[in-house]
Every structure is written in structure tokens, then in C-alpha cells.
Amino acid sequence: MITRLNVASIYVLDKEAALDFYVNKLGLEKGNDVRQGDYRWLTIRVPGQPEVEVSLEQPGPPLHDAATAEALRELITKGALGGLVFITNDARELFATLKARGVTDFTMEPTDHFYGTDMGLRDPFGNPIRILQQGKATPKP
């Protein structure tokens, strides 16, 4: 049987810019950073959860031919590809922290639901990110 999720991947337009956003803005940490010829195996992960990594993949050779890479880049920038969902212990505090770090592309400010409080944003390329504080929502002030 499968026992856990190890690596998931997202497409980004630029690995270095993605690393800067996910580490310096969002607060994740760099996982693997291995070069094999022209290819760079680059992952990010949540601090304290080393067993799950998100691989940052850039459309282009050797993964894709030129036309496929162009199609993927178009879909990324239209926000049409899948994204990531993270868990936080305090959505509103994190929202303030992210704003202070210069994050502007919020798709939803922290909002209470029956399952908790969540917020939405996009990475610099268009990928959607949700961040959820699980549990009964904190009462609105």
C-alpha cells in the first residue's frame, strides 16, 4: 500500500524567481537543489515537514518540446493549472506577515467558513495557492 505523499510538482515560469517567492515571501524552505547537466532538480518544503516536497518545474527542454512548453506557459499565466493548499495555525496573522513582506496578489483575504479560516493568493506566475487554518472559525471581531 502507499503510505504517504512524498513529492508533488508545480510548473513555474522561472525556478529562481519561484524559489525567491516561495522561500523569502511565503516562508517555505529550500529542499533539494541538484543540478544534472542543464536540469535543476529544485524543491521547496514546509519547515518542519521534510518528508513532503514540492518540485518546481519549468516548462522547456528536456521535459518538453518548444510548442508544449509554450502551451504550458500560457496556461500557467492564465491561472489554469492546479495549485497548492497549505495549513497555517493563524490565517490572519499570516496574512499580515505576507502583506508586510510585499505580497500583493491575494485572491481572497482571510475568510471564515464552517471548516476553518482560509485565504487565497497567487504566485508570481499565476498559480493559485490556498492557505487554511483548520478548525472552527474564530469569531469575527
Binding site: L13, E70, A71, R73, E74, T77, K78, G79, A80, V85, D105, F106, T107, M108, E109, T111, H113, Y115, D118, G120, R122, F125, G126, P128, R130, L132
Partner: protein, 150 residues
């Protein structure tokens, strides 16, 4: 696709996000176009080329989706819900709702209860699809049909 086109996509996506975020406010084309750094004259055409429908129609379907949510999840009156989601006229709301959903807000409320799914899933998946008639009208922008999640 050039890098310029990718940059335009990203800016138009930002404008679309702004509509999703501030649908309840009075929005006009110049304000939303400004989010994308596109002139109002070019905004609607560019938006339609990228997302398959006009920004006006996108916003209407977002507002109708949010009204469907409130009809399902709350007991607020149709008139209040109309204003909650950014329509200023009950007549326009009812007509638009019926055109997009195929039934009146009250009839929709009678037939539907709360949906247990995360908010982000509802926002993405419950936005009403283009009707067959709309699809034919926008046949030169076939991706609009594909954009409706299965």
C-alpha cells in the same frame, strides 16, 4: 506565445481576480482595466481573447454564483442577496439570474440546499456554466466551453 503575451495574461488574470474579490462593489471597466494596466478600450477584447468571455459576463457569472451560494446557505431575502452580490436593481438581478441559471432565484432556492465543499472549490466549480445558446454565440472562442469544470 511571446513573453509579452504571457505578461498580458498574468495582468488580465489579476484583473479577473479583482472581480472575484470585489464583486460586491460597483465595478466599471476603467477600474478593472486599470488593475491589468490595459486601456479600457482594449481591456474587454483582450480579456475575451484570453478567458473566452467578456469581463462583464465574467463578473455577472461571479455575482450570480455568489447569489446562488447565499440562496443555498442563508435565509436572506432575494432582495438583500441581490444587493449583497453587487446588483443595484432587483429586475436586472432576476433577469440575469434566470438567463444564466435557467430558473428564478426563488425556484433555485427551493431546489437546492447547502453544499459541503471547501469555499475555494465552490468558487471555482459552482460558477454557472455558459448555456448552450451562449456557447453558440461565442463559438469563435471555444475555450470558454472548455473552461467550465467537469
Amino acid at each position: 506565445m511571446t513573453r509579452d503575451a504571457e505578461d498580458l495574461n498574468r495582468r488580465l488574470l489579476r484583473a479577473r481576480d479583482a472581480m472575484d474579490r470585489t464583486y460586491a462593489e460597483p465595478l466599471d471597466v476603467p477600474a478593472v482595466a486599470a488593475v491589468a494596466y490595459v486601456s479600457p478600450a482594449h481591456f474587454s477584447r483582450s480579456f475575451r481573447a484570453v478567458f473566452g468571455e467578456t469581463p462583464h459576463r465574467y463578473l455577472q457569472r461571479r455575482r450570480v454564483e455568489r447569489s446562488m451560494f447565499l440562496l443555498r446557505e442563508t435565509e436572506r431575502s432575494v432582495t438583500h442577496i441581490c444587493l449583497d452580490v453587487g446588483f443595484s436593481s432587483l429586475g436586472t438581478f432576476s433577469r440575469t439570474f434566470r438567463q444564466i441559471v435557467g430558473e428564478t432565484p426563488s425556484a433555485y432556492r427551493r431546489g437546492h440546499g447547502p453544499i459541503v465543499a471547501p469555499h475555494c472549490v465552490q468558487l471555482a466549480a459552482m460558477r454557472p456554466r455558459l448555456t448552450a445558446a451562449e456557447t453558440r454565440r461565442s463559438s469563435s472562442f471555444g475555450e470558454a466551453v472548455l473552461a467550465a469544470p467537469a
